[in-house]
Symmetry: C2
Subunit: 158 residues, 2 copies
DNA sequence: AGTGTTATGTTATACTATAACAATTTCGTC
DNA sequence: GACGAAATTGTTATAGTATAACATAACACT
């Protein structure tokens, strides 16, 4: 989705935030100004962002919150499925399909840092089946793929 | 593999260590006493173990190494494919198939803590193909599945 | 306005990991 | 066996990530 050309990221952020507002209203949970700001900052790019980076960005305002403030907001957003945590990076990224909760699959570019959420056809089901064959009952899945995205391959930074 | 009954774990450790010795000799790298000890400790159970836990166990000897000592040994073992890192747990576990380097897929039981390495048929290839369809070139994959293993389900601790 | 609940602020600390440099050990070569 | 280069381990300090515990403030409902 974040292809170099023709990507209006301001709109990208706006869309994500209004979707979040709709979703939160629908669920009767509160997207407070703080949580909204953290969501905007997570969406400030398509590259996963660390909790302490978010904190730095908030400090620009002069406010400078303490870590728990940011972590709590991130926890809320994660619980509501508005952001995902990228385990291999200790970082957070906006969820592309926040309407329904789901396990995400990510392609993470080691050149530009962008992470794109993927729906690999039937992969979740396949994992579930393979696990069941071992007598294992699946709770949640983490699938993170590292490499280089098309844009970075195309520009031969390799 | 770690099914409650009929699992001689001492043999399990011995086998892992002798395999490691064979592999290291074959590659001309050195499985020093320190590295060997760390490998044994990682293999002390089938549950992933944190670096600082390894450190605690080593301290039992009176030696008490500093963190870098343990991390360096773990880095070596990981580079040689003798252990894998479980990203969702910040912990390490012995590799079940250390002969050839590979990306592992893990089923991690949230009840007993055991992690079993899985080879889901064609899953790596499938991920690679799905990525390629997005123009993405895959470097490495992380697949970690949380849930409950057959043993824990069977004993209805649920 | 009063009260229970939820959210945020604040301080301290736990946990995970690495940088930088010193000392030691190993190994090949003389 | 002595030497020097390379690899390994020791040591100290610090960076980076995350949460516990308790205080205060905002909100929502009567």
């Amino acid at each position: 989705m974040p292809s170099r050309s023709r990507h209006n990221h301001q709109k990208c952020i706006r869309d994500a935030v209004s979707a979040a507002e709709r979703i939160c209203v629908g669920r009767g949970v509160r997207l407070t100004p703080l949580r909204r700001q953290v969501l905007e900052l997570v969406w400030s790019s398509h590259a996963p962002i660390g909790a302490y980076e978010v904190l730095e960005l908030m400090a620009g305002d002069g406010a400078r919150p303490a870590p728990p403030t940011v972590y709590r907001a991130l926890d809320f957003l994660k619980t509501e499925g508005l952001v995902h945590r990228i385990e291999t990076l200790n970082a957070f990224v906006g969820c592309a399909h926040p309407e329904a909760p789901h396990d995400a699959q990510y392609l993470i570019c080691e050149a530009c840092g962008n992470a794109v959420e993927l729906e690999i056809d039937g992969l979740s089901r396949q994992i579930q089946k393979a696990a069941a064959r071992e007598g294992f009952s699946v709770g949640g899945q983490t699938v993170e793929v590292k490499g280089k995205c098309g844009d970075c391959l195309g520009s031969r930074v390799s």
